[in-house]
């Protein structure tokens, strides 16, 4: 049987595409990095893959807002193709900038009319932060988080504060069980790095096949990527982030 295939979609300014592709390959998949120009020219490329991933970066510079232009391009040029891809069972993962993109495309946390009801705003601190955070998953329907409870991953973003337009919107997302990954403020009171509502670090859609998160699972696929591995972790073992990629590959295999 052919290994499951992942398409790592990049745009000008995407910069985590290589390590994200490698994470899918470590998990047993095949990954190809594809520029959005190429996908716009041939949307049928989606028919050849089972997983689409939008990796981290500063797409189009993020000069207006994070992920804005990338999301707009997807909405204007690839909306139908992506919806068809999801509806036929494909998995969509957005990491960091990719999460910001997914929220603005309406593929995640959309209102009745498909409009975004949640957003990732500037961090409370007003600035970019790179640090490791404790996380806790409540996987619910989320394919990517299956079997995951607590874990640690790095965040690296300036705009990662999860906010909804209203208390009601937050309550409805919570009730739907899609706020599947949270900063674990029970373990560490300073775990929430950006002021996200309800400590939300990641969210899926109701099918569980579309998932976005601010932390970077592809940055913890080797133990040596952890900042305190010396004398504490076996350098030859896999990092906890790899599980998300393994889950995805196993699901479509």
């Amino acid at each position: 049987m052919l290994a499951p295939r992942a398409l790592v979609l990049r745009a000008p300014g995407t910069n985590c595409d290589h390590e994200t592709a490698r994470a899918f390959e470590l998990a047993g998949g095949l990954a190809r990095r594809v520029h959005i120009r190429a996908l716009v020219a041939r949307p049928a490329a989606l028919d050849d893959v089972q997983i689409v991933c939008i990796p981290g970066g500063f797409s189009y510079g993020d000069d207006i807002a994070s992920g804005r232009i990338f999301a707009l391009e997807l909405r204007v040029r690839l909306a139908d193709a992506l919806h068809r891809f999801r509806d036929r069972g494909g998995l969509i993962l957005g990491i960091c900038n990719g999460f910001q993109v997914l929220l603005q495309t309406g593929l995640l946390a959309a209102g009745a009319g498909g409009e975004p009801i949640a957003s990732l705003a500037h961090n409370d601190s007003g600035r970019f932060i790179d640090r490791w955070v404790p996380l806790v998953a409540q996987p619910g329907p989320c394919v990517f988080l299956r079997g995951i409870g607590q874990l640690e991953l790095p965040v690296a973003h300036g705009e990662g504060r999860f906010v909804t337009g209203s208390g009601a919107a937050l309550a409805s997302l919570d009730a739907a069980g899609v706020l599947a990954l949270r900063y674990d403020t029970d373990r560490d009171a300073t775990a929430n790095p950006n002021g996200s509502q309800a400590d939300v670090a990641g969210a899926c859609d109701e099918t569980g096949r579309v998932f976005g998160l601010m932390p970077h699972p592809e940055r913890f696929v080797d133990a040596t990527q952890h900042p305190a591995w010396h004398g504490r972790l076996d350098p030859s073992v896999a990092g906890a982030g790899l599980t998300m990629f393994r889950n995805a590959v196993a699901h479509v295999a």
Partner: protein, 994 residues
């Protein structure tokens, strides 16, 4: 039609621009600015209807969840509504012609939903309480805008059009040199910002006299760029007659006979095992890495632009060194950045600042933001660095940026071929940075901010990111023969260098412009960022253009490398300039300089009495600016992107400091790259040889402490000096060069690249009207590029387990001049800590052997603040404690009062020492690796998180690690001027997400 769209945060709490402004106002002492609001706006010009603008505002410019907008024709009443109690309106917008990355992005994005505007400019608006006009101006210019790049409008904005320049009409100006006396030549050089000396102008005059004509402006500019200190290191490569402590000595070429000579001798000694590939030749130094790859490294300075516009100066400094790596050989992939800043003391009172000088805290925040926004957007981890504070850097800060790259093995040799096209790729050319190369060779003054604004460039990181993606793909496909970056001197330097042997013809009117109106000379010397020049075979042009189109990069063939040995510049059908390459590259008259170094008279040691407790001093040392945690900086940098980091700058459960940082060369491979820096700035004025030697030893110790192989350490030099026209000042530079030579040889660690920035002098008029000037302290930044077989064998400072034994390696002396202890005022004078090359080499090899034998659990090099600071940092990182017995430390304490012995031993900065934690079952094996070295057991790691220091009298001082960590982190505050730190981007203060 000119429209304005203002985007407002829905909730005041999310108005970061206003929050930073209010905090900054308090910081600079403007009373009454207790609340404010801000918006991000866009001026959009073009054939757009109200419906088009509505669509753009909704779909492109506004987040429907968190923001609202007002869109109307510029000047409409709807835009003039002020929030209650905030009637003062301040508008900040980039000056015409200044790069405005967000506006460029917005313009392109508009085309996704409607007609493409003719022009877009970003504008930030701030609403303030009623305030005196002087306060409003001060707030604006201190916190919101930079004179070099912004316009500030208080009140309504009146504009007819955003303007796009008028076409330049060709004309050529001859510059008559014949008949000018030396004074007039000197004046001409200054007036035209050429930075050419009188003897150089004589050579130019004589050359053109032999041609029977006067030089054209564009020719004279080309010569000035090519002969600039920045481009050809004319001082360091001069002949020098030196008189120093070692007697009289004459050099025909200072650099060649010191730094280069050491490298040549080391390579010769290695013979067939030589692992240098390309040194001091290309844009960066290249060495062997593994069977498939070579690696390269370069460190650059961007001091003068950063003094004027810290954010843009630092960002473009980093952008430039990234392009150096990208432009090495047939192109290298940038995989790590480093940054080092030297600034004035953070607590310098405003009254002590010379006019025109940006306060050090704000300057530091600005350069950090510049590196952050550029490096993070490029997706290159910033993994190493340092910050040093000294009053000598007040008007003339130092900003060092470095990049490491990796390339396929044996692609370092690149050669332009006759007939190759001259291809310019990347950003368009504008008036940015005209005279950067010559400006960096002229001293700064308090007027620089106004006079040289044109020399400041603004970076556009995403243009460089796409350029890098294009270059690496074109390189993979073998579509060019040679490549170099457009840095200082712009096309004139890049094409001139590439065509130095063959000659070239360039059609300047073909260079794509940001806006019309540039003259031929401006096109030729513009330092607009994010451009590279490639030599491309005509047969490959089509394929190259296709790769460029796929990556969204503009490429233009602007001429060819001809083989005539002449550089011919054309504008349409006219010859705008023509130069003989031999004269251009070899016609500069060599100078013979004199230098002198007389060591300053020794100052006797004086201790402040009563002697403070060592523990009290330790808390002060940890809080000292040079020592204190740089976490607020490090965490703003993405130091983990690309997924290769194995030793991070902050590590262990307590996030303590690292010595060397380590990344894998390639994902999935074991072999690692170790990066370390050394800087002994406090010794520069005391003893330049020891300053330089100490810096290099520190850099080497940093990488060895992390596990680097001592037989594979490459070094880089970055000399930053004051006014080297003075014999005494040049003398200290010669001493530093001599130190580089001696240390490199002693460690068999070759220098592979380097850079100098001379004439770092700040001139101003003080309050009494007296003209004054100040040179920076002589400063050598040493960078060590190490390698480790397997990243799993790396070592870090953080303690890993209680019960381990602590060993100090190396002898401690009581020489405390220039130490942090002296900076605290506890002691004054004495000798500077001296490098004993033989002992240092033995210690470095012993520690490397212990690490290779895996008998060291953690290791920290002992530097600023000495042994007690090293132990405290290891405890902070590991969240464990330790006991330290100072009387057991091997030390020379002759002449030290008994009561001062603990301070001397605990805080000495004798170079080349390490503190190692050794598992109890490995102590014998460790001792065996130390054979022949000065070392001793001095304590152990404890479970209880307390650092216990046992003095010479047996008394024990106990300091909880939590308290030490608080002191270490306490001073690590960021200045509250963030609104100013991100001025170049209107998008908001944090610079997006990754």
């Amino acid at each position: 039609m000119l429209w304005e769209v203002d985007v407002h945060p829905k909730h005041a709490a999310a108005d970061h621009g206003a929050r930073a402004l209010v905090a900054g106002a308090a910081d600079i002492g403007v009373a009454g600015c207790t609340q404010a609001r801000s918006s991000t706006g866009w001026l959009i010009e073009g054939d757009l209807t109200a419906a088009d603008i509505e669509k753009v505002a909704t779909a492109v410019l506004t987040d429907p969840v968190t923001e609202s907008f007002v869109a109307a024709p510029l000047g409409a009443a709807a835009l003039a509504v002020t929030p209650p109690g905030l009637p003062t309106v301040v508008r900040v917008l980039p000056r015409a012609g200044v790069t405005d990355p967000a506006a460029e992005t917005a313009r392109a994005a508009c085309a996704l939903v409607g007609p493409r505007p003719v022009a877009v400019r970003s504008v930030r608006t701030f609403w303030l309480p009623p305030l005196p006009e002087a306060d409003v101006r001060r707030l604006a210019w201190s916190l919101l805008a930079s004179e070099a790049i912004h316009d500030v409008v208080v009140g309504p904005l009146v504009l007819e059009t955003l303007g796009s320049g008028r076409t330049w009409t060709y004309r050529q100006e001859a510059v008559v040199l014949d008949g000018l006396d030396d004074a007039a030549l000197d004046r001409l050089s200054r007036d035209r910002c050429l930075a050419l000396t009188v003897p150089e102008l004589h050579a130019v005059r004589d050359h053109f006299r032999s041609l029977g004509r006067a030089p054209g402006e564009i020719e004279l500019e080309t010569i000035a760029q090519t002969w600039s200190e920045h481009c050809c290191h004319k001082t360091l490569t001069s002949a020098v007659d030196h008189e120093g402590p070692a007697g009289r000595i004459s050099y025909d070429n200072l650099l060649k006979e010191t730094v280069f000579a050491a490298t040549r001798s080391i390579r010769h000694g290695l013979g067939s095992r030589d692992w240098c590939v390309s040194v001091f030749r290309d844009n960066s130094g290249v060495v062997r890495f593994d069977g498939d790859h070579d690696i390269c490294i370069k460190v650059e300075t961007h001091n003068h632009p950063s003094a004027i516009e810290p954010y843009g100066g630092a960002a473009t400094g980093l952008g430039g060194v990234i392009r150096d790596v990208l432009g090495t050989g047939l192109g290298a992939r940038p995989i790590a950045n480093l940054d080092v800043f030297c600034v004035g003391p953070p607590d310098t009172p405003a009254a002590d600042l010379p006019p025109g000088v940006i306060p050090p805290r704000r300057l530091l925040a600005g350069v950090v933001a510049g590196v952050r926004d550029y490096g993070n957007r490029m997706g290159i981890p910033t993994i190493a660095g340092a910050v040093a504070f000294d009053p000598g850097y007040l008007g003339n800060p130092l900003v060092f940026c470095g990049t490491v790259g990796i390339m396929p093995r044996d692609t370092a040799a690149a050669e332009v071929r006759r007939g190759d096209l001259v291809v310019v790729a990347g950003g368009r050319t504008g008036r940015d940075g005209i005279h950067g190369a010559t400006f960096s060779s002229i001293e700064l003054s308090s007027d620089s901010e106004r006079a040289s604004g044109g020399a400041v460039q603004i970076g556009h990181a995403i243009n460089e990111k796409t350029l890098a993606d294009f270059v690496l793909e074109a390189s993979r496909r073998g579509l060019f023969h040679a490549i170099t970056d457009c840095g200082a001197g712009g096309l004139s330097s890049a094409v001139g260098e590439m065509g130095a042997a063959l000659g070239a013809e360039v059609q300047l009117d073909r260079v794509p412009l940001k806006y019309a109106g540039l003259s031929a000379t401006e096109v030729w010397i513009s330092e607009a960022q994010e451009r590279m020049v490639l030599a491309v075979a005509p047969a490959d042009w089509e394929a190259l253009a296709e790769v460029a189109a796929d990556e969204g990069v503009e490429v233009t063939a602007i001429g060819s490398f001809t083989g005539t040995g002449r550089l011919v510049l054309r504008w349409e059908d006219r010859v705008a300039g023509e130069l003989d390459c031999t004269f251009l590259h070899d016609g500069r008259p060599r100078r013979r300089l004199r230098s002198r170094h007389v060591p300053p008279a020794p100052v006797p040691v004086a201790w402040r009495e009563p002697w403070p407790m060592t523990g009290v001093v330790l808390l002060d040392l940890l809080a000292a600016p040079d020592v204190a945690s740089k976490e607020w900086i490090i965490r703003q940098y993405d130091h983990e992107v690309q997924g290769a980091s194995a030793v991070k700058p902050l590590l262990g459960p307590g996030a303590g400091p690292a010595d060397g940082t380590v990344i894998r060369g390639a994902l999935g491979r074991e072999r690692g790259i170790v990066l370390g820096v050394g800087l002994r700035h406090t010794l520069g004025t005391l003893d330049p040889w020891q300053m330089a030697a100490g810096a290099i030893v520190e850099a080497i110790c940093n990488v060895v402490a992390a596990g680097a192989d001592p037989d594979r350490i490459a070094l880089l030099d970055n000399f930053c000096w004051g006014d080297v026209k003075r014999e005494e000042s040049l003398g200290t530079l010669v001493e530093a060069c001599r130190a580089c030579h001696d240390v490199a040889l002693a460690f068999a660690a070759p220098f592979v690249s380097g850079k100098d920035s001379l004439n770092n002098v700040f001139a101003w008029t003080d309050r009494d009207g007296v003209a004054r000037e100040r040179s920076i302290p002589p400063t050598l930044l040493a960078t060590a590029l190490g390698q480790v077989d397997d990243v799993a064998r790396t070592v870090t400072p953080a303690f890993t387990a209680a019960g381990q034994w602590l060993a100090i390696v190396g002898r401690t002396t009581a020489d405390l001049a220039g130490s942090q202890l002296e900076r605290l005022g506890v002691v004054r004078g004495g000798r500077v800590p001296a490098v004993d090359l033989g002992a240092c080499r033995t210690q470095v090899r012993a520690v490397a052997a212990a690490a290779a034998a895996r008998v060291v659990a953690s290791c920290h090099d002992i530097s600023d603040g000495g042994l007690v600071v090293a132990a405290a940092e290891m405890a902070i990182g590991g969240r464990l404690g330790c006991r330290l017995r100072l009387a057991d430390v091997p030390a020379d304490l002759a002449g030290t009062p008994a009561a001062a012995r603990a301070l001397a031993v605990g805080c000495s900065e004798s170079p080349g020492r390490f503190l190692c934690a050794v598992p109890a079952d490995a102590v014998d094996a460790f001792a065996a690796t130390m054979d022949g070295t000065t070392w001793a057991w001095v304590g152990e790691v404890t479970t209880e998180p307390v650092v216990q220091i046992e003095g010479f009298d047996g008394a024990v001082e106990s300091l909880p690690v939590e308290r030490l960590a608080a002191a270490w982190r306490g001073a690590a505050r960021e200045p509250a001027t963030a609104a100013g730190s991100d001025r170049a981007s209107t998008a908001g203060p944090s610079g997006g997400a990754r």
